[in-house]
């Protein structure tokens, strides 16, 4: 162990405590509000937890669609996480382990998608989701063919998921990971006569387990927290997600304000992603940073 320095240790503890306090302040306050009884006049000024936490949570839980919304959010977040993982692993493998023409172009083509989040291109994206074959028909139209093809993804899980996996965060991260995998492994595989796919399956994939777990967490959170897209892509109540459910409890134009219920719903909506992060954090971190080889 390194030198002892009680003063420096004490400073570290102090720093950590202050940090934790800051991190927890908003959560504490959310709990305070969510636990207040319905008397709303000074509700936001409460500083100590009230007595109605369970009551409010139960009321939020029992609301019409909440449970259905939780299922939808789960399917959507899982779909985004798993879907993006699969396509990104393959493409990151291609851009790091091969030299081929236009490799740089392909990399930038993928990387540039980090720069234009779904919010910015959402209306044209909606048109594609309303008819996935619209690019095909439009291209055919330019060439002078008339095609009538219509496949709508609205109000389906595919429609919720596919447009959101069209970006490259995961590819970028896998590339970073693959870059630090020692070249000797690849050399050895080649000496043993293993082809790229076998190397990918037998060596790279097992090694990437932790990275995959980490990305799974990131993508699950990303998917869970989507707001704008699910709002557009679904019209049926049974297809909405829980983040939209939270927004629904926010008072709109002059409506009655029940901040305590809003906060209780918020807590319920936050719980699954927080659990995923906290439970999987061991892999979350190791996968992205640890240089275990």
């Amino acid at each position: 162990m390194v030198e002892r320095s009680p003063r420096f240790d004490a400073f570290c503890w102090l720093l950590l405590s202050a940090g934790l306090l800051l991190v927890f302040l908003p959560l504490y306050y959310a709990l305070v509000i969510a636990s207040q009884p319905d008397d709303t006049a000074r509700l936001t000024l409460a500083t100590l937890p009230g007595s109605a936490l369970w009551h409010n949570l139960a009321a939020a839980w029992a609301k019409d669609d909440l449970q259905r919304q939780l299922v939808n959010s789960t399917v959507m977040a899982l779909g985004i996480a798993l879907g993006k993982l699969s396509i990104s692993l393959l493409s990151a493998f291609a851009v790091t382990y091969f030299r081929f023409r236009f490799r740089t172009a392909a990399f930038w083509l993928i990387f540039i998608t980090l720069m234009l989040p779904v919010e910015v291109r959402i209306v044209p994206t909606f048109e594609v989701a309303a008819n996935v074959l619209s690019p095909v028909t439009a291209l055919a139209g330019w060439l002078g063919w008339r095609l009538e093809l219509n496949v709508s993804l609205l109000d389906s899980y595919a429609g919720l998921i596919l447009p959101l996996i069209a970006s490259a965060t995961a590819t970028f991260l896998f590339r970073q990971f693959f870059l630090v995998v020692p070249d000797e492994l690849c050399e050895a595989a080649k000496v043993d006569g293993a082809g790229p796919l076998r190397f990918f399956r037998d060596i790279l994939l097992p090694m990437s387990r932790t990275s995959m777990a980490a990305l799974f967490v990131i993508l699950f959170i990303y998917g869970w927290n989507q707001y704008l897209w699910p709002l557009l892509a679904t019209t049926r109540a049974e297809m909405t997600t829980v983040v939209i459910g939270v927004a629904r409890t926010l008072p709109t134009d002059n409506a009655d304000t029940r901040w305590n219920l809003t906060m209780a719903t918020t807590l319920l909506a936050m719980l699954p992603p927080v659990l995923v992060v906290v439970l999987l954090q061991r892999w979350f971190v190791r996968g992205l940073v640890d240089q275990e080889k």
Binding site: V75, F126, E127, A130, Y157, P251, T252, D253, D256
Partner: protein, 436 residues
């Protein structure tokens, strides 16, 4: 992916497919912005259920699409993809976009083609005027409100104010007394550009923009930097400096909270604010019409807020007939009176107003009548409505510049000039997008 998830995926897709299959009654999609969790949404749901139960031909399918903005966006995206709903609830500031577009079917046409005769003269004129373009009724008014002056009656008593201020000068005097009585925020306002600027111009009969505030066509320009509006802005700016006016944010939440907490004693806010105020104010409160300028002989009607129902183009005749039948159902005096009572919005027909009066409703809830009285004042060229393109951006500009007056960063004249400088290019751009 586990089998269960696959199963759920499949079930979800199937459910989505099944629900779009043909059904006996013609479905009329209605997208709106009233959360089903709040009272307004519940009342609306009840009306739709009653309508659906009242006949077998049509089934109105109600879908909550988030905020007003979310609802318009969803509608635009859907229209561009050919998936538009029949009826959509659109807030006043987004209405110009729809009225000037060719994506809607005027309500006049919808009703006429369904063979339903409507006597528009039985509707409240300022409400109808807002949605009338080139002589045609473009949308069905729905939830309509207008600003009032809400006050804390206990605070007035404490400050020794026995006459409710009716002019801005009287309000200033009252504000000084309230300040002296210990109220840190004598006056505040929700929706500042709507209440303090637009409604002031209406009541005082001052033009805001050319082309009759844009009501006659899209090629309008702002003009209020050369009239009394500037003095009004300067006054509130001075109040802000002297601590007679305290700004609580652009929307309503902050102003309401400060009013409930008895920090602010006068709240200039929509008539529809009644629901929140009655529920949360732990003191005696009252309401009055908006103050006028000292010596105003004929104060004009106020400007409405809220939303109207638009019908989108490109659907089957049967769907339009269903929408027409639903509109007729919504306009019935009994239903409008029920809406008035439950929502705090004004009824849209004179018949409903008379029904409410006959039943003695206003003896118990006098403030509910104030809004109607404000709207029934004699209108002028300047008070038919406001119909400006990119109004959302323009409102944003008004809000930003007003904040700069309140914080003493700019003079009222400077800010008003900047409002015009920033808004006019937008108006010019918008005019180009509108077909003649």
């Amino acid at each position: 992916m586990s089998l269960r998830i696959l199963g759920m995926l499949a079930a979800g897709t199937l459910a989505a497919l099944a629900s779009s299959a043909a059904q006996a009654a013609t479905e009329v999609d209605f997208w709106h912005a009233f959360s089903p969790d709040i009272k307004l949404g519940k009342v609306l749901t009840r009306y739709v259920e009653e309508f659906n139960a009242s006949q077998d031909d049509y089934k109105v399918v109600l879908t909550y699409k988030g905020t007003y903005d979310d609802t318009v966006n969803a509608t635009i995206a859907a229209y561009r993809a050919g998936k538009q709903p029949a009826i959509v609830q659109v807030q006043a500031n987004a209405a110009p976009t729809l009225i000037f577009s060719s994506a809607i079917k005027p309500v006049d046409d919808v009703m006429a083609e369904a063979g339903i005769e409507v006597d528009w003269s039985r509707y409240l004129e300022p409400v109808m005027a807002m949605y009338r373009y080139k002589g045609k009724q473009m949308a069905m008014p729905f939830n309509t409100s207008t600003p009032l002056m809400w006050y804390n009656a206990d605070a007035f008593q404490k400050a020794g104010i026995d006459k409710i201020p009716a002019t801005w000068t009287e309000l200033e005097a009252a504000a000084r007394r309230l300040k002296a009585a210990g109220y840190p925020c004598p006056v505040t306002s929700a929706w500042q550009e709507w209440v303090l600027l637009k409604n002031y111009a209406f009541v005082q009969d001052l033009p805001l923009a050319t082309e009759g505030n844009g009501m006659d066509g899209p090629d309008a320009r702002l003009v209020f930097n050369h009239n009394g509006v500037v003095e009004q802005l300067a006054r509130i700016g001075r109040w802000s400096k002297e601590g007679l006016f305290e700004y609580q944010g652009r929307q309503w939440t902050g102003a309401h909270q400060a009013f409930y907490a008895e920090r602010c004693a006068v709240l200039l806010e929509s008539s529809a604010g009644y629901g929140g105020i009655s529920q949360n104010a732990k003191f005696k409160f009252g309401a009055a019409v908006l103050p006028v300028e000292e010596g105003t002989k004929t104060p004009r009607n106020t400007f409405i807020g809220g939303a109207g129902l638009f019908v989108m183009k490109g659907l089957d005749k049967a769907v339009y007939d269903g929408a027409a039948a639903f509109f007729k159902f919504l306009s019935a005096p009994e239903l409008q009176f029920d809406w008035h009572r439950n929502s705090g919005y004004v009824p849209i027909t004179v018949d409903a107003y008379e029904l409410a009066r006959k039943q003695g409703y206003y003896e118990k809830f006098p403030h509910q009548e104030l809004a109607i009285k404000e709207l029934l004042r004699q209108p002028s060229e300047n008070t038919r409505g406001i119909r400006l393109g990119y109004l959302v951006q323009i409102d944003e500009i008004l809000n930003e510049e007003m904040e700069k007056i309140w914080s003493q960063e700019k003079s009222a004249q400077q800010a008003a000039d900047d409002m015009v400088r920033r808004a006019d290019p937008l108006l010019a751009r918008f005019a180009k997008t509108v077909a003649d």
